[in-house]
Amino acid sequence: MSNSVLAAIIAEHAGREGPLLPILHDVQAEFGCVSPEAEAQIAAALNLSRAEVHGVVSFYHDYTPTAEGRPVVQVCRAEACKARGVESLMPSAMAAAGDRVKLHTVYCLGLCATGPNARVGDRLHSRLDAPALAKIIENA
């Protein structure tokens, strides 16, 4: 954890109204997590308690306390994708993922008429069947 990189992120957003979430987004993107050390440094810089910062970090799904080393594939399992059969793809998807890839359930990627849908990084995939989803997982 580089303190100077973190300090630069904090300094970049410090003048904004409500700077905490933009800071946390950049920290998560830079380090892959928001660690307790980062929470402490952000708290000191924004004149907040560590508990306040930790409360925010632990509230939101996008922030994680430790970095995920594996590739992540997000699979939507909300109502519209369920109606289009995502649940029947899950056994083969889990088999394809094994321990190598992290399958992460999300609720809605906003492509609800052409599901099932998945997301890897900022790349979206739609109209998936079992082989297509398995291929995405293998290439992740």
Binding site: E17, G18, P19, L20, L21, P22, L24, H25, G55, V56, F59, Y60, H61, D62, Y63, C76, A78, E79, A80, C81, K82, A83, R84, V106, Y107, C108, L109, G110, L111, C112, A113, T114, N117, R119, D122, L124, H125, S126, R127
Partner: protein
Amino acid sequence: MMLIKISDDALARALGADELAEAFAAKGHEVHRTSSWGMQWLEPLVEIDGKGFGPATLGDVDAILNGSSDKAIGVIEQHPFIAGQTRFTFARAGKTRPTSLADYHATGGWQGLMRARQIGPEQIIAEVLESGLRGRGGAGFPTGIKWKTVAGAVADQKYIVCNADEGDSATFADRMVMEGDPFQLIEGMAIAGEAVGATRGYIYVRSEYPDAIRKLNEALVQCADIIAPFVCEVRMGAGAYVCGEETSLLNSLEGKRGEVRAKPPLPALEGLFGKPTVVNNVLSLAAVPHILAEGGSAAYAQQGMGRSKGTMPIQLAGNIKHGGLYEVAFGVTLGELVNVIGGGTASGRPVKAVQVGGPLGAYLHPDQFDIVFDYEAYTAADALIGHGGITVFDDTADMGSMARFAMEFCAAESCGKCTPCRIGSTRGVELIDRIRAGGRKRDVIELAPQMQNTVKDQGRSVAEEVALLTDLCETMKFGSLCALGGFTPYPVMSALKHWPEDFAPEARAVLEAAE
């Protein structure tokens, strides 16, 4: 060389539109990346001289160019799905390049803002009131009244906050506005700023929409001088569904946990950073430029029925043959939307259930297909329009498991501030599991002779568990702080009412006996 139009909407891109555009460009044609027409079952849709081809793959490129493609759908604007719509908010859909300021100018852009600046705050609010526009986020509160409240508040700073945390499954109209016509949303916010005296605006976009965030930022850079002195900024959410609730959204913008605030005070008086704040949904704000254009408010008010004026961008999703964006005046029946416009299920099997209004909306039975799209009609049927999303399920759906999922979703996304939602949702999952297991038997410990105070009977029957679930839903409905806990009972109780056999074989008899 031909001019070829292909959408750069996230949905089209997820289905290979980028690769398709490159293939046409490689053959020496000019490719314009436009917004999406909203006919999502045909994406990626290729448009040449007004004629459409879809869903196109790389293998179709040559056939499309030489006119022999079997993917031809004819003239797009004459397609029944497009011709049947009344498009105000989506008037530019499919026609313009989303982040082209020139395209926006050429199609009537900024006329609403220019006129708003001439007529002044009072007249702007009068015209929004006259249009009958109601909040499109779900609550249906009259937009003009909200603006009037903020305009009347005295403060050194006021805010316009756009709620673009479109987390409901089956909704994508906000995304399509932000990706397809970002200037229209920004213009709507600038007009709102003009009306209430706010100079700062925030667009709170969920992190699941990276394309929308990128395009809004591109658009904001280009039009900063036009909307000045109004200043607008995009903020990204962090994966919390509950932040679509306006007060938790405000907390999130302030850099706090996205917990719901008790009302009053109303955000209109004490909102972002304690200042008077307009919080409007994307669709409400995006409807405003049209309403403020010459004669716009009267044209808007002419559409619709009863107290539901204007048009609603309805989103047809789930297991539906012709899914997509359908903007139409209020008053259309659910049966027409699902069976005629949507063409029934994609799987070809009979429709079993239709959920209207996202994860918190009721499941409607095909017997109820004559219900008309109107805020009051849905409320009367113990259902809600919400954000206008419609999810169709075929007869393979297990409604008991969908009811369980509604409770599970509420438990996962509850902000934890109020007890009915935080604890009730978890107890709800357990209750539905027990009903599906045929009731609750006494366990070994309870039956042990040493446990003198436990009742040594057969345990709780399905009838008693159903009564408990009903009671729990009543508590959540009336005791929760916001719509998450308050509306989760809608999908649960509607599923139980219409498809009790999906919960337990004896559940129908139990419900009939209870009535």
